[in-house]
Assembly symmetry: D2
Homo-oligomer: 201 residues x 4
Amino acid sequence: MHEITSTLTGPTVAESLATIAAEQARVIRRLIDGPNTTPDAEFEAAVARLQTARRIFVMGAGRSGLALRMTAMRLMHLGLDVHVVGEVTTPAIAASDVLLVASGSGMTRAVVGAAETAGQVGAAIVTITTTPGSRLAELSSTTIVLPAAQKEDHAGTISAQYSGSLFEQLVLTVGDAIFHTLWQASGATAEQLWPRHANLE
Amino acid sequence: MHEITSTLTGPTVAESLATIAAEQARVIRRLIDGPNTTPDAEFEAAVARLQTARRIFVMGAGRSGLALRMTAMRLMHLGLDVHVVGEVTTPAIAASDVLLVASGSGMTRAVVGAAETAGQVGAAIVTITTTPGSRLAELSSTTIVLPAAQKEDHAGTISAQYSGSLFEQLVLTVGDAIFHTLWQASGATAEQLWPRHANLE
Amino acid sequence: MHEITSTLTGPTVAESLATIAAEQARVIRRLIDGPNTTPDAEFEAAVARLQTARRIFVMGAGRSGLALRMTAMRLMHLGLDVHVVGEVTTPAIAASDVLLVASGSGMTRAVVGAAETAGQVGAAIVTITTTPGSRLAELSSTTIVLPAAQKEDHAGTISAQYSGSLFEQLVLTVGDAIFHTLWQASGATAEQLWPRHANLE
Amino acid sequence: MHEITSTLTGPTVAESLATIAAEQARVIRRLIDGPNTTPDAEFEAAVARLQTARRIFVMGAGRSGLALRMTAMRLMHLGLDVHVVGEVTTPAIAASDVLLVASGSGMTRAVVGAAETAGQVGAAIVTITTTPGSRLAELSSTTIVLPAAQKEDHAGTISAQYSGSLFEQLVLTVGDAIFHTLWQASGATAEQLWPRHANLE
């Protein structure tokens, strides 16, 4: 085994964990207690749209897209018909479908383009963003606004973390909260969801 | 636009957020303050191994794998040579490389198989798991143990969330804490990392 | 623009194309005219199974898997319910489903494992391979045998190409021939398939 | 096992194979013997660019992208530094890099956008297309023109196959011919390439 020589200066992992946890807690407290960037009605509208969608399509660039894929997997476990934009077998979106997207800036070119197409065919758009006035928010049926930093906020005034990390962490947490609400509303037990997990890997 | 009729019972999204945030906070507090499942020395060993690796390979099944991909992207932004197992251009692992894996149970067949191969060629293995005594932990050079629920803990004694959700959320947070520590140790500014972001999408 | 200095020896691209085309033609001629490694009845059984499947799952390692993904996309265009094993939203396979796999050796560990699971739940298995007596062929409901080289036939007695290239090229051609037959049998025009192409990228 | 009732009309798989093989052979004959849509000098320029590139990035939409991924895997086996655009760990392209793309129409929006970016940073662009006068061809350092059908040639005058299938099959064959030429020029044996195959799956 090769020898390991640490050349660390700066925070330990435990200190970094404390920093990140404090940032996440601050955003979540604002989402719950206010001053609210996302009113409860908007959250419940997102849930209702996903619950009644014929099919759900998820899309995001980079790490936001990976966080949404984690949510997509859970929605599939719930028995919903879910597709990840860009995957091989993803069909064309149509009316009665929902496009679920995440973009901190609300300006990611490919995501805005997809939202425009989705809007043209009559699909609903549910957006997670930090930017309520963005082009993406304008196109959206339902907008969840997270008070987190944007990718190019290099000054670190909202978050000490690199780029959009705080936003991306919250996309996962909010996605999982939406799933948890949908799951509890479904009345299904964990044992009933389990057989839907992929069995061929 | 189709009409939306909510048929919700159970928690609102804000209530689900509060549940999830409390679970995450409890695990992180134990990681920081103890009783520690992962001593500081183990965290710093993980950081040192990634810092000195010739190349880093990441692997996990399902949502754990997606969370590790988020970490992999950040490690690439830091200038490290990173590969996701299973992607088209991922080469063979060799000595001086590090395999970074996540598996709640420590028994995921494909992950254990990869760790066995990595060990045979002399690569180091850094594992994130909930299960210190597992086969995967035995194979590992460095093990980060998270006091979170396992996938098949359907009784919900550790987490009210479905399956391994709490573990998977923490894989992301711990991965981002490791990145944050590596980044701060590197002395690079955000502006210096930014040009490494993919420019062709 | 950087200067380009070729240091080629060996065949030109045109010469390599001629070599590859001759190898492909020889295999296809044997599939059509005999001595047949795959009788017509076996081809038609594969078509019938895909046509009547509730859902189709495709799986292959490396380049074989990429070739099958190309086929999977076409089957989706035909309106079939298709999933790629390993993708985020792929559900569990069940009876009435078909698993379509490709493995030159018939021994690829993950593919054989998937076929065993598929067989246990009562799904049909359609296999493309070079090896009729393999474990994978034994598990299969329908086996298409291609008289092409295997991956580790380094001596180049069947193909001058590297590793399983000839087999992988034929997986694509045979997959597209099966699609062409299914499409013509469906009576649909190209214009009727077109709207199913992904519209969000 | 469920019963299978075939409802086929139209060509058998063997007949479809014969149709496809004849179409492929006709295009390859024109590439080799003329009237040439791609002169030998252009093929050899593509080889030289890939041979001398610092890093190679591949990109294509849908099935063209999957065919290029198959080529990318082989280039990695040859020891080249290869990345697939859109994958998690793919870095930013820069001067001395080569972007290898495929688009039948030469108008695929995302591919043209990537080529524009690549050109701006001084990277070379190698294009496989059916359309010599397209925007993509204009941007390219080296253009390989295949006399195959375009996606929306629904009339079937060039190919009886659906959409861009013939083009996509030839992207694979031409990519493999370029690899074969690079491999033979390298002087490496199959045994020398073999250890580069992924060992963690």
